[in-house]
C-alpha cells in the first residue's frame, strides 16, 4: 500500500476537525490554544503535501511563515493567559465574559 497525497489530506482533515472540536468544546484557554495549534499544523500538513505533490517550494515557504506567526501569537497569547490566571485563578473562557454587549 502506497501512501498517496490523499492520505495526507485525510489526516490533515482529521487533525483540523479535532482542533475545531477542541476549540468549540473545551473551556480551558490553554487547551483551546493547543487546539488552535493543531488546526494550524493540519493546514501546514496540507501545504507540505501539496507542495511535494506539485514539486514546488511554495508550500514549504508558506509553512515557515505560518510557524513563525504562530510562534509569535503563542507568546502573546500565553502571556495573556498567565496574566489572567494570576488575577482570577482560572483560565476558563466562559468566566471571562466581561465584554458581553
Amino acid at each position: 500500500m502506497t501512501v498517496t497525497p490523499g492520505w495526507y489530506m485525510a489526516l490533515a482533515a482529521v487533525l483540523f476537525v479535532i482542533g475545531t472540536g477542541g476549540i468549540l468544546l473545551r473551556r480551558n484557554a490553554l487547551v483551546m490554544f493547543m487546539s488552535v495549534e493543531l488546526m494550524l499544523n493540519a493546514v501546514n500538513l496540507t501545504f507540505v503535501a501539496a507542495g511535494r505533490e506539485l514539486n514546488v517550494l511554495d508550500g514549504q515557504v508558506a509553512v515557515f511563515f505560518v510557524m513563525v506567526v504562530a510562534a509569535a501569537e503563542v507568546v502573546v497569547g500565553l502571556a495573556i493567559i498567565v496574566a489572567v490566571f494570576r488575577r482570577r485563578q482560572t483560565a476558563s473562557v466562559d468566566e471571562l465574559s466581561e465584554l458581553r454587549g
Binding site: T20, S97, G101
Partner: protein, 623 residues
C-alpha cells in the same frame, strides 16, 4: 516723477506705520506733528507735480508699482491725470489742515497717537482710491476708506452709541458695496479687464450695449449711494457724527463721502451710454438734496444739522454728475470740501468751547465769546447759502444752470434744486442764529472760550478758500472746466447756459438764498420757538426712516436669524447630526446581543461561516 508720485501715497502710509508702532511713545503733540507733516508733505509734492498740468504742459502719467492681478488685466498702477490731481490736492490740502486742527482738538485724549494713525490710514486709503488706474485698486481704496471711517466713527468706543454708529456705517456701506462688486463683475465680463483705459475706451467705442450698460451704471450708482450717503442708503451718515468732530469734517463731509461723486465722474464713459441710469443718478441726487434739507431744518444737534446738510449737498453733486455736468459736480465737490470742512471745524470749535455741549437750544450769543470761530463760520454760512461771490455761489449756480439748460423734465429737477437752495439758506441761518446770536442759553457752569490758535488757523485758511475757491470756475473764466476737459473727452459734457439766461438764473437762486436767510432771521431773531409740533417732530426724527429701517430690515434680519438659529439650525442641522447619532445607537442596540462575551460562541460563528463559505463554493462547483 515715479518716485514723487509714489511718495504722495507712501508718506501718509509711513506716517501711519510709525504711529501704529510708536504712537504711544511719541505722545502728545509729537504724534500729531508726525501725521500732519506726512500729509502736508504729500500735499506739497502733489502741488509741485500739479504745476505742469496746471500750465497745460504736463501729460497724464501712470506709475506701475508691481504686477498684481494679471487675470483681471490689472496691475498696482497709479494714474496721475487732471481729475486725480484735483482730488489729491483737495484730500491732502483739506486733510493737512484738519490734521493740524486735530492736534488742538484731541488734546488730552488717551489715544492721541492712535487717532492720528487712523487719520493717516484714511488719507492713504483715500489717495489709493483717487489715484488708482483700474477698478480693482479703486475698490481696495474704497474698502480701506470704509474701514478707516468705521475705526474713526467708533473711536470713542467706550460710548455705546459710538460703537453702534460705527457698525451701522460699516453695514450700510456693505450694502452699497455689494452693488459695486456686482458692477465690477459685469464690467469684467464685458471687457475682460478692469483697467480704466480698456473699459472706458471700450464703452466709448460701443462695446457696451443698452441693457448691460444700464445695469452696470445702476449698480455703480448703488455703490456710490452707499459711500456718498444718498437715498436710500444715507442713514449711516447722521449717526457717524458720533466720531470726533475733525473726523466728521474730513471724512464725513469733505473727502470720503465724495468718493461716490468721484466714482460716477470717473466712470462717465459708462453713464454716457446709459442715459436712463444717468437720469436716475440725477433724480436720486435731487430727491436726496431736498429730503435731507428738510430734515436739517429741524435738528437741534449742531453736528446733525451739518450732517444732513452734507447729505443734501452731496445730492447736488449727484444731480450734477447725473446730468453729465461732471465738471460742475467736481467743482461743487471742491468748494463744498472747503466750506463744509470749515463749518464742521467751526462746530467743533464751538463744542470745544462749550464743554462738549451740542444742543443749539442751549447755545446762543457766542459771537462775542468766539470771534474767530464766528467770523469764519459766517463766511462758510454765506458760501453754502449761495451768496455771491463766495465759493458756494459759483458751484451751486453752475449745477442749477446746467440742469435748467437741459430742458424738458430736467427743469423739474432744477425746481427741486432751487427749493433746496432756499431750505439750505434757511437751516444754515437757523444754525448760525441759534448758535451765535440772541441771548445766552448756556447751562450753568459753562464758560465759553475761543479755541487755541492751532484750531483757529485752519479755520482762517479754509475761510479764505471758501471766499476765493469759487473763482477757479466762473462763467467769465472757466479755468477748471478747461483743466478737466481732457479727462472727459469721451463724454458730452453738459454746459451751463450763457448770456441773459445765466444772469436770470443766478438772480433767481440768489433770491432764493436771500428769502431763506430772511425767513430764518425773521423766525429766530429774538426768540427760540419751541419747535415741538407734529411737523417738527416728524422732521426731527428724519421722517422716522431710521425707525422704519429698524423695524423692517433690522427686525426682519433678527427674525430671520432667529429662525435660522433656533429652527433651522436646532431642528434641521442639529437634527440631522443627532439623527445620524441616534440611528447608529439604535442599530448598535439591535446588534448588541451578538456580542455575548463567550469566546466559544464566536468560534462557533467562525466555523459556521467557514462551513457556509465552503458549501457555497462547492455548490458553485469550485472557486
Amino acid at each position: 516723477m515715479d518716485l514723487a508720485l509714489s511718495l504722495i501715497v507712501l508718506l501718509p502710509l509711513i506716517g501711519m506705520l510709525i504711529l501704529f508702532a510708536f504712537g504711544r511713545r511719541i505722545g502728545e503733540p509729537g504724534a500729531g506733528i508726525v501725521a500732519t507733516v506726512a500729509v502736508a508733505g504729500s500735499f506739497v509734492i502733489a502741488l509741485v507735480l500739479a504745476l505742469d498740468l496746471f500750465s497745460g504742459e504736463g501729460s497724464v502719467e501712470t506709475v506701475r508699482w508691481f504686477e498684481w492681478l494679471p487675470a483681471f488685466g490689472v496691475e498696482a498702477e497709479l494714474r496721475w491725470d487732471q481729475l486725480s490731481t484735483l482730488m489729491t490736492l483737495v484730500v491732502t490740502g483739506v486733510g493737512s489742515l484738519i490734521h493740524l486742527y486735530s492736534i488742538g482738538y484731541m488734546h488730552g485724549d488717551a489715544r492721541f497717537g492712535r487717532f492720528f494713525a487712523y487719520l493717516n490710514l484714511f488719507i492713504t486709503s483715500m489717495l489709493i482710491l483717487v489715484l488708482a488706474n483700474n477698478f480693482a485698486l479703486l475698490f481696495v481704496g474704497w474698502e480701506l476708506v470704509g474701514l478707516s471711517s468705521y475705526l474713526l466713527i467708533s473711536f470713542w468706543f467706550e460710548r455705546d452709541t459710538a460703537a453702534a454708529a460705527g457698525k451701522k456705517a460699516f453695514v450700510v456701506n456693505r450694502v452699497g458695496d455689494v452693488g459695486f462688486i456686482v458692477a465690477l463683475m459685469l464690467i469684467f465680463s464685458v471687457f475682460g479687464s478692469l483697467g480704466f483705459d480698456t473699459v472706458f475706451d471700450g464703452a466709448h467705442n460701443g462695446e457696451l450695449t443698452g441693457a448691460m450698460a444700464t445695469a452696470i451704471a445702476l449698480l455703480l450708482l448703488v455703490g456710490a449711494a452707499g459711500k456718498s450717503a444718498q437715498l436710500p442708503l444715507y442713514v449711516w451718515l447722521p449717526d457717524a457724527m458720533e466720531g470726533p468732530t475733525p473726523v466728521s469734517a474730513l471724512i464725513h463731509a469733505a473727502t470720503m463721502v465724495t468718493a461716490g461723486v468721484y466714482m460716477v465722474a470717473r466712470t462717465g464713459a459708462i453713464f454716457e451710454v446709459a442715459p436712463i441710469a444717468a437720469a436716475t443718478v440725477a433724480i436720486v441726487g435731487a430727491a436726496t438734496a431736498l429730503f435731507a434739507a428738510t430734515i436739517a431744518m429741524s435738528q437741534r444737534d449742531i453736528k446733525r444739522v451739518l450732517a444732513y446738510s452734507t447729505i443734501s449737498q452731496l445730492g447736488y453733486m449727484f444731480m450734477a454728475v447725473g446730468a453729465a455736468a461732471y465738471v460742475a459736480g467736481i467743482f461743487h465737490l471742491m468748494t463744498h470740501a472747503f466750506f463744509k470742512a470749515l463749518l464742521f471745524l467751526g462746530a467743533g470749535s464751538v463744542i470745544h468751547g462749550m464743554s462738549d455741549e451740542q444742543d443749539m437750544h442751549k447755545m446762543g450769543g457766542l459771537a462775542k465769546k468766539m470771534p474767530v470761530t464766528f467770523i469764519t463760520m459766517a463766511i462758510a454760512w454765506l458760501a453754502i447759502s449761495g451768496m455771491p461771490p463766495l465759493a458756494g455761489f459759483w458751484s451751486k449756480d453752475e449745477i442749477l444752470g446746467v440742469v435748467f439748460e437741459r430742458g424738458g423734465l430736467w427743469q423739474v429737477l432744477w425746481g427741486v434744486g432751487l427749493a433746496t437752495a432756499l431750505l439750505t439758506a434757511f437751516y444754515m441761518t437757523r444754525m448760525m442764529w441759534l448758535t451765535f446770536f440772541g441771548e445766552p442759553r448756556w447751562d450753568e457752569g459753562i464758560q465759553p472760550h475761543e479755541s487755541p490758535k492751532l484750531m483757529t488757523i485752519p479755520l482762517v485758511v479754509l475761510a479764505g478758500l471758501s471766499v476765493v475757491g469759487g473763482l477757479v470756475n466762473t462763467p467769465f473764466k472757466l479755468t477748471l472746466e478747461h483743466f478737466l476737459e481732457p479727462v472727459f473727452e469721451a463724454v458730452h459734457l453738459a454746459h451751463a447756459p450763457e448770456g441773459s439766461v445765466a444772469w436770470i438764473l443766478a438772480a433767481v437762486s440768489v433770491a432764493a438764498g436771500i428769502i431763506g436767510i430772511g425767513a430764518a432771521i425773521f423766525r429766530y431773531r429774538d426768540r427760540v420757538p419751541a419747535e415741538d409740533g407734529t411737523g417738527w417732530r416728524l422732521l426731527n426724527n428724519g421722517y422716522y426712516i431710521d425707525d422704519m429701517y429698524a423695524g423692517v430690515f433690522a427686525r426682519g434680519g433678527k427674525l430671520g436669524a432667529a429662525w435660522l438659529a433656533f429652527r433651522f439650525d436646532v431642528r434641521g442641522i442639529d437634527g440631522a447630526v443627532e439623527g445620524v447619532g441616534s440611528l447608529t445607537r439604535r442599530v448598535g442596540g439591535w446588534l448588541r446581543p451578538l456580542q455575548t462575551g463567550f469566546v466559544r460562541s464566536y468560534g462557533l460563528a467562525v466555523v459556521a461561516g467557514a462551513v457556509g463559505l465552503l458549501v457555497w463554493f462547492l455548490s458553485r462547483g469550485g472557486l
